[in-house]
């Protein structure tokens, strides 16, 4: 029952929690984007492994979406936006990083206490995987709450959603997982576009393309 396959799945879930802690630790925006790309890669590895051991080939699609969209497209797009809009490249936090990590540790303990208590009859490894997924979710919320920068809050939201996908794929036979992933990705895309439209309007006082044409560098 607790063969090598389940151990690897458990290890990948634990690595996702570890990468969430690494997200909490960063204080530079570009490094945060790189670590988020790593977060998405670990998620897609976990989903692909679940597709392998559950023998559910539709989960491979979720894995490909995770890699393509969240590991490559979104970080590159955010990187270009940061350069274009000249966003301040340090992550501004409300509490010190050490205190935030301590709170994160408490949240992991809390999610273990909750998950392991309310599922007394299931398999231990499955319960711990659920607890890890809940931890990733709570840590994503923590990132959103303790950061002042819009980009870091988006990253927090996306890592929260990664936790949800981890929980969904970990549970056997959950339907519509692929459709849910696609829907979440479209939601994220619209949120990102929306945030940057607001920033563009703040910076240039307009979103009219014709008006922004004046700011092009090669015009005299």
């Amino acid at each position: 029952m607790h063969g090598f396959a389940f151990d690897v799945a458990h290890l990948l879930a634990g690595s996702l929690v570890l990468v969430s802690f690494m997200l909490l630790y960063q204080d530079r925006l570009y490094a945060l984007l790189n670590v988020f790309a790593l977060h998405a890669v670990v998620l897609s590895l976990s989903v692909a492994w679940q597709a392998h051991i559950q023998d559910a080939p539709h989960l491979y699609i979720t894995a490909v979406i995770a890699i393509g969209f969240k590991a490559i497209i979104i970080p590159v797009a955010l990187h270009r936006m940061i350069v274009l809009l000249g966003i301040h490249r340090e992550v501004e936090t409300t509490a010190s990083i050490g205190l935030t990590m301590l709170i994160g540790l408490g949240l992991v303990g809390l999610s273990m206490a909750v998950m392991l208590r309310i599922t007394p009859h299931a398999d231990l490894v499955a319960r711990e995987d659920l607890a890890f997924a809940l931890s990733v979710l709570l840590l994503g919320l923590l990132i959103m709450v303790t950061r002042r920068n819009a980009v870091s809050q988006i990253i927090g939201f996306m890592s929260l959603e990664n936790g949800l996908v981890l929980a969904a794929t970990g549970a056997r036979g959950m339907p519509l997982v692929v459709e849910i992933s696609v829907a979440f990705s479209v939601l994220i895309a619209f949120i990102v576009i929306g945030v940057f439209l607001f920033r563009i309007r703040e910076r240039f006082d307009t979103v009219d393309i014709a008006a922004m044409d004046q700011f092009r560098g090669d015009r005299q």
Binding site: L18, Y25, L105
Partner: protein
């Protein structure tokens, strides 16, 4: 009995002779990665010999503690390195102190080194001692949490028993082991004064921690302290190898060819580890002094998380 003591003596001498070579390999690898030729591999041996031949210049107000510290630091570090299984487990001295004892021996050496930094009464010594104690106040608990996690898994704090447990098939891939490995690597970097925590190659005030405490030493005293820091690097690499890459460790009742093979395998593990360290040091820059507590504190958090996961999932 005689066999065991012979093996123990070989282990002690191996540790002593291999340590400067490892530092030579690190420096050479870092230089090669930066497209320089770099110093020869045996340069640390030559440095030690040169220092031994030089005269010691003592400050006017240096006390007996200043003169005794190099011997104490060397003795405790060498002893701690001997207690870590390098190529054989179950050797006679291993039962005198377990992993907590080894950490405490290193803490003893660090206590005296910090005092020696304050002895002459210069501001550089003070910088080194105060920063060293700040880093140690986080690195030591991180190490203790790693010991907790591993001891809970293996059912013992003795390194030989831990190594045998980790060689056995019922270990499995555990999240706690992964977390402990990362935490141990961070603690090793912090304790050995490597980039990104401290720069072992500079004497700039902004970047000195370990070097600042050694600033007033010269001659044979400096040689002993340099050798002690080489041995400390070997100790942490041996610890990582013994706990996380334990294949090749021979029990005490093995045959002589098995021990020879184990010794060669151990040397190979050390050199691979040191090359990885060199790559890591080249790829990353030194961090600000007040970012170091966050870095080492993260190792403490990871160790605590690993121990927490074990406590929580036991008896369920």
């Amino acid at each position: 009995m005689m066999r065991d003591f012979t093996l123990q003596t070989i282990a002690m001498l191996a540790v002593l002779l291999l340590a400067p070579l490892l530092t030579g390999v690190v420096r050479k690898a870092k230089a090669r990665l930066l497209r320089r030729i770099g110093p020869p591999l045996i340069q640390p041996y030559r440095d030690l010999w040169r220092l031994l031949q030089k005269e010691v210049v003592l400050a006017d107000n240096a006390s007996w503690l200043f003169r005794a510290t190099p011997y104490l630091v060397f003795a405790t570090t060498w002893l701690a390195a001997t207690l870590v299984p390098t190529f054989a487990t179950g050797l006679p001295f291993n039962w005198a102190a377990d992993l907590i004892g080894i950490v405490a021996l290193l803490a003893l050496g660090r206590f005296f080194l910090a005092l020696a930094g304050m002895d002459v009464g210069t501001s550089f010594g003070g910088i080194g001692s105060s920063r060293e104690m700040m880093i140690a106040s986080l690195a030591e608990p991180a190490m203790m949490m790693i010991i907790f996690s591993l001891a809970l898994l293996a059912g013992s704090t003795q390194l030989s028993v831990m190594a045998q447990y980790l060689l056995s098939p019922n270990v499995g891939l555990r999240v706690t082991l992964g977390l402990s490995l990362i935490a141990l690597m961070v603690v090793g970097i912090a304790e050995n004064a490597r980039i990104p925590v401290d720069n072992p190659a500079t004497h700039l005030e902004l970047t000195m921690v370990h070097e600042a405490m050694l600033l007033e030493y010269s001659g044979r005293h400096l040689a002993l302290l340099e050798l002690a820091s080489f041995i400390k690097l070997l100790l942490y690499l041996s610890l990582i190898a013994c706990l996380f890459v334990p294949w090749g460790l021979v029990p005490a009742n093995g045959s002589w060819p098995a021990f020879g093979l184990g010794l060669l395998l151990y040397a190979a593990k050390m050199i691979v580890g040191v090359c990885i360290l060199a790559g890591f040091e080249t790829a990353i820059a030194k961090m600000r002094v007040f970012r170091v507590p966050t870095f080492v504190g993260a190792a403490l958090m990871l160790g605590l998380l690993g121990a927490l996961l074990l406590f929580v999932s036991r008896g369920l």
